[in-house]
């Protein structure tokens, strides 16, 4: 039996000059579970994401990813594209980063780059149109088609990604990340800018990803309805440090969390809570 934690972050710190964005943060994300990272604006959540996904090199600390087969990867030792390629960590961005001038289908094909690159014999087999390449390409298109179907964009497969409505772009970005067949999916505010109905659909999508693919999900989110509904475990950050963690119910009732969100003292928060109940 493999280790239950897919990701364990140990004493992670990230400094930008004099600014300490993340200070000695430790937490774990369990396998096949949805872990949410929440906190007020500027708490350092996206910085943690950027460290995990290799866009930043942490000042200190370790991040270990354990695959299903027990293989360990130290994420702080890999950089940018290798995180996705070797550690199988995929991510989405707070401000959507699709390829706007490419179609929805093409976006999903680009996501399968590494698998297709191998299948095309580093381009040479593909250039001569070898049968093995053709079948691999067909397979890739099928995978993309399945994902387009799941996010309800099959009808718009041939439309430019930049032309899609905002909510569709959000879902397409998640589908694109999933097309890399990740072990850990990191979502940076996937519900930002979505209406209530779209948020509900998103929750459903994330739950189905966890159920059908066994993908572990790490989530930054401000939309508490989404966080509380789908998270198995919540880590709360404020000013770069962890202030609470636990099951959604525990976190919701934690006075330090409420204080951080309300920007008030702890005592005041407790007072607010007590008057509310």
């Amino acid at each position: 039996m493999s280790e239950p934690c897919i990701l364990s972050v140990d004493h992670l710190s990230m400094r930008f000059g004099g600014v300490v964005a993340v200070n000695d943060l430790s937490f774990t994300a369990e396998r096949r579970k949805i872990t949410a990272l929440i906190g007020p604006n500027g708490a350092g959540k996206t910085t943690v994401f950027n460290c995990i996904t290799g866009f930043y090199k942490p000042t200190s600390g370790a991040m270990r990813l354990t695959h299903d087969d027990g293989r360990n990867v130290q994420l702080e030792r890999l950089n940018d594209f290798r995180i996705s390629k070797q550690a199988k960590v995929a991510r989405t961005f707070q401000n959507i980063r699709l390829f706007p001038g490419m179609t929805a289908l093409e976006n999903l094909m680009v996501a399968q780059h590494n698998a297709l690159m191998r299948a095309s014999g580093l381009t040479f087999l593909g250039l001569i149109g070898a049968p093995s390449w053709r079948s691999a390409e067909k397979h890739a298109i099928d995978l993309a088609r399945r994902w387009l179907g799941r996010i309800g964009l099959l009808d718009r497969a041939d439309d430019a990604a930049g032309n899609l409505p905002y909510g569709d772009q959000r879902r397409l970005e998640i589908a694109r990340a999933m097309c890399t067949e990740p072990a850990l999916l990191c979502l940076d505010e996937p519900a930002a800018g979505l209406n209530a109905r779209e948020s509900a659909a998103l929750s459903e999508l994330l739950l189905s990803i966890r159920a059908d693919h066994g993908t572990s999900i790490l989530l930054i989110e401000h939309d508490m309805s989404v966080v509380m509904e789908i998270s198995d475990h919540i880590v709360v950050m404020d000013y770069g440090v962890k202030i609470a963690e636990g099951a959604p119910q525990d976190v919701r009732d934690n006075p330090r969390v409420i204080a951080a969100y309300l920007g008030a003292d702890e005592e005041e928060a407790i007072a607010v809570m007590e008057s509310g109940t």
């Binding site: 866009f55 290798r82 490419m102 680009v110 250039l127 041939d158």
Partner: protein
Amino acid sequence: MTAPVPEPTPLSRAPGVAFILKKALISALVALVLFSLMIGVRTEAGPTGQLIYWTRFGDLAAMVATVFGGSIVVELLRQWWGPVGTVRIVPPPMQNALAVARRAIAPVLLIFTFLVPVIFYDQRYILDLGILVLTYVMLGWGLNVVVGLAGLLDLGYVAFYAVGAYSYALLSTNFGLSFWVCLPLAGILAAFWGVLLGFPVLRLRGDYLAIVTLAFGEIIRLVIINWQSLTGGPNGVSGIPRPTFFGIPLTPGDDGLAAKLGIEFSPTHRIVFLFYVILALALLTNWVTIRLRRLPIGRAWEALREDEVACRALGINTTTTKLTAFATGAMFGGFAGAFFATRQGFISPESFTFQESALVLAIVVLGGMGSQLGVALAALTMIGGFELFRGFDQYRMLVFGIAMVLLMIWRPRGLIGHRAPTVFLRHSQPIVSELVREGRA
């Protein structure tokens, strides 16, 4: 009871006389500043090298008056015509016809190109021009990989053209290797230099990349000028062997192709042969590029142009992706260079100035970045058009410049600005240029 018929209100109130006069006055002022030195004062070097100048205020006044009057006319025309829209200028039935024409243009152009040596067999000038145009089509298609697909602004493309040309020239004159052996070698060497250029500029984008590639182009040229023992310096390399028809020379001798085929020798044979060689090379470039676009590497190039950060998040090695783009583009430049050397029989550094880089880049930008057909049309317009304006003599550059400016106003993203998807489920629909990024971020 009838309701009073409402007066047809104009969409926007036409600006008054004061506005038109003000606008014309500003234009005239700008013209005065611009032309006062360009036309107002004429300078020339005297017989002993001293400066001679005289004034031409009459011409200057006429010029400024023309601008003033022209500005009024343009403004009046604009008011009379109203807002300009495509629908208004081109009626829908004609647009449909244009759409059909657009689809037919590529095959028609290709067939015509194949027939050029047949139609214009006796016109050496046209054949030479055709070879020149095809050379630039090939260079444009090669640079299109780097600039159009990968979005890496390369201002030093001529360096690879030079590497290819000198590779063939030196290999053939020193070691007696034939054109068909040297052609792949020239491509490989150019690709190698493309990778070398690629390494230092991996972190750069947009303007900064342009500056470094510009410098690279100059460095190659200066090395060629100064490395006299190898390249012959400014004297160039002469006596470069002509291409053979797979080993059979195109000469009047007994072992020549004409003698073997039993036909009378004509120097045109070689021109026609060269025409088909460059056509084949250009078509090879086109075929490979179209093929590559549908392969993961080509999609990665375009994705890189769209969003480099997202590429990295998807596990795409942006380093190798950029290097392969540089290498592929450079390789085609090298092929074209080798062809140039064998056609000319003589090469010197003068053929590989920045002007060439700028011209090829202009072809790519004018054609619409990433569009194969657009680049071909642009090369035809730029090179062919340049020859067409030969009659205008000293006004050639002026006419040409105005034509370019007008084209860029009419089509800011090039002749063919939209992007064709590389894969589709139901139907392929072009993506409007506004969505396609240019890789300058």
